[in-house]
């Protein structure tokens, strides 16, 4: 820290991202949005604030309790955007006619919520897509394959874990009273102890109890679906999940798929296939998503919707790629700025990335270039280019700039 410079402290839970981390984050963001655009997803940039009335009853109480509330300068009760899916759906509902569906949206933005221990971050950078209002069966496979393809683009080895909320709903629907609700809560809390205790108190036939008791353990490779089908009275409830896995297998993703039939996502609006995706290298959760037809219903729309969000910081941590950094520094200290800027345009047209240096002192400019790990430094006034590794120099005109193009 330099003496005399007052350091700016960020609010607890917020952080600035700079340097290599920012370059990697931007790289992941750009590659993802580029790929989404190829698949017909149009960028969407939602408002930073959401009205409380549009959010509160659409998500689970646990999630709603973590929203960061504030009053806008116009006196409206708001929350800092805690969920991008919700923004996308309300945007669709209010801006598009039924016949304009399906709508494919992509986004890269921040969400805000009170952190859950042991984390401390109030904000998270996400990139993702929403496919809203389709007619047909391929959309779940489209969304999950797009998720895996974007991770392939970023060279991040990953595993996707699939569950299905509709299977759980159908199995629990037969239970008496509010047993289904409390069992769902226990699974969502990850408390298999509570789940088994509750199950022990429910009066149901032994066969049903055996199935329910096995449910949290039905995890592993795709073959788990067949095991579960044998246990179910009505195996057809697993057919949509099985078909989805078959589609993904045909796309070459079979080895990257895991099944977890006791899996519940905590946002409270998922109603079909759901998924989490993990980095194979670090084991960290990269993101997730799923089908949320129920959310459309909550805002009075018929139809189906699915999407996913990936945590950009996690992607950046797992990704080796980065935005290209400038390859050379052009020292313009003794030259007419307009001549230098014309030369800069020429470099740009040749696809060479660069940084201009207006420092008066030539040696200091070269020293800074070395500190920034540039390989080349140009003295524009003398029209010479220097290798900062070997110290050799030559005339700019005899140097092949094409070799440096991005």
């Amino acid at each position: 820290m330099k003496r005399g410079i007052r350091m700016n402290r960020n609010p607890k839970g917020c952080s600035n991202i700079g340097g290599t981390a920012a370059a990697k984050l931007e790289y992941c963001r750009n590659r993802a949005l580029e790929l989404f655009a190829f698949y017909g997803y149009r960028p969407f940039s939602p408002a930073e604030l959401q009205l409380v009335e549009n959010v509160w009853d659409k998500i689970s109480p646990a999630r709603a309790g973590r929203l960061i509330a504030l009053t806008s300068p116009f006196g409206e009760p708001c929350v800092l955007r805690g969920d991008l899916t919700l923004s996308a759906v309300t945007y669709l509902a209010s801006h598009f006619q039924d016949e304009e569906r399906p709508l494919r949206l992509s986004y890269a933005d921040r969400i805000f919520s009170a952190p859950k221990s042991p984390k401390h971050n109030l904000e998270e950078n996400q990139v993702g897509v929403e496919l809203i209002g389709w007619e047909g069966a391929g959309a779940d496979a489209e969304v999950i394959s797009l998720l895996l393809r974007v991770l392939d683009e970023l060279s991040i080895a990953s595993t996707v874990v699939l569950g299905d909320m509709s299977v759980i709903s159908k199995i629990f629907a037969k239970l008496p009273g509010n047993a289904g609700k409390v069992l769902t809560d226990a699974l969502q809390d990850g408390s298999y102890t509570s789940y088994n205790n509750i199950l022990g108190d429910i009066n149901i036939p032994d066969n049903d109890k055996k199935l329910l008791s096995a449910l949290p353990q039905l995890k592993g490779s795709v073959s788990v679906i067949n095991d579960a089908m044998k246990m179910l009275g009505d195996p057809s409830i697993l057919m949509p999940l099985k078909n989805l896995c078959d589609s993904l297998a045909k796309l070459g993703f079979e080895k990257r798929i895991r099944i977890d039939l006791g899996f519940i996502r905590d946002l409270g609006y998922y109603s079909g296939p759901i998924f989490n995706v993990y980095s194979e290298k670090s084991g960290s959760l990269l993101g997730g998503g799923g089908r949320y037809d129920g959310l459309l219903a909550k805002i009075g729309m018929d139809g189906e919707a699915a999407g996913f969000a990936l945590n950009l910081k996690e992607l950046a941590d797992c990704c080796d790629g980065s935005l290209p950094s400038p390859q050379l520094m052009v020292w313009c200290g003794n030259s007419d700025p307009s001549d230098c800027l014309l030369y800069a345009d020429e470099l740009h047209r040749s696809g060479v990335s660069f940084e201009l240096s207006w420092h008066r002192d030539k040696d200091e400019s070269m020293r800074i270039a070395g500190l920034r790990k540039y390989k080349w430094w140009i003295d524009f006034a003398d029209k010479r280019i220097f290798s900062l590794d070997s110290g050799e120099s030559r005339n700019i005109d005899s140097f092949d700039m094409g070799a440096l193009s991005c």
């Binding site: 990850g190 102890t193 592993g220 895991r258 993990y278 084991g283």
Partner: protein, 211 residues
């Protein structure tokens, strides 16, 4: 290799007994000395402070772990609780001198502003808050039973096993809050992606505790 996080301190012997009963290799673990990482026959054991076990598990440093339910509740970390082993049983309780006990027997309003000494600040706060009572918490890291005698608190919020430490300090159990026992836990990521390699170990421990 399956990595297991275990709490050091008084629960460790119970953990070793449990793992041995389930057929896991524990010879090196029994003679760990000052080692904090012990490997034997396809298992790695990490020995950590009880309160650190949930964090290590959450971040994937361990596939499985044994931790007291008191510590799990206090950590407030989302984990998968696979099994209640029923071992190392005790209760989380409010304890204090007779004078404090009388306050609890009357209207709940009498408890407002109660000074509570504890190392379980989150659980204590949540417990009283669920009753609609605001309290003043004094965070202590050990010898919590001293606080009422020193005039630092009206009561304590702590785990009670035999009650002998309470009696020795002139305190009585005023209200039991929740049962505590050793739980088998895992990170949700490990459970979702690595279940195949941990399922047989979980099953072996389950079989042993249900014997």
């Amino acid at each position: 290799m399956l990595t297991f996080a275990l709490p050091t301190g008084r629960s460790l012997d119970g953990c070793i007994e449990l793992l041995e009963g389930a057929g896991l290799p524990v010879n090196n673990l029994k003679n760990a000395g000052r080692n904090l990482v012990i490997e034997e026959d396809g298992f790695r054991y990490l020995l950590a402070k009880p309160l650190d076990v949930p964090v290590m598990t959450y971040y994937g440093a361990a596939d499985l772990a044994l931790a007291g339910s008191d510590v799990i509740c206090e950590a407030e970390i989302p984990l998968v609780e696979l099994l209640d082993t029923g071992r190392s049983k005790c209760v989380m309780a409010i304890a204090g001198p007779q004078k404090a006990a009388q306050k609890f027997s009357g209207n709940i309003c009498k408890l407002m502003g109660l000074r509570v000494a504890t190392k379980y600040t989150h659980v204590a706060e949540k417990t009283f808050s669920d009753w609609g009572v605001q309290i003043k918490i004094l965070k202590l890291n050990g010898s919590v039973e001293l606080a009422p005698a020193l005039g630092l608190s009206d009561c304590i919020f702590d785990i009670v096993q035999t009650g002998s430490t309470l009696r020795a300090n002139g305190l009585v159990v005023i209200r039991e809050v929740m049962p505590v026992s050793l739980r088998l836990i895992a990170g949700s990521g490990a459970v979702q992606t690595n279940w195949g390699s941990m399922a047989s170990t979980v099953e072996a421990i389950k079989k042993f505790v249900n014997k």
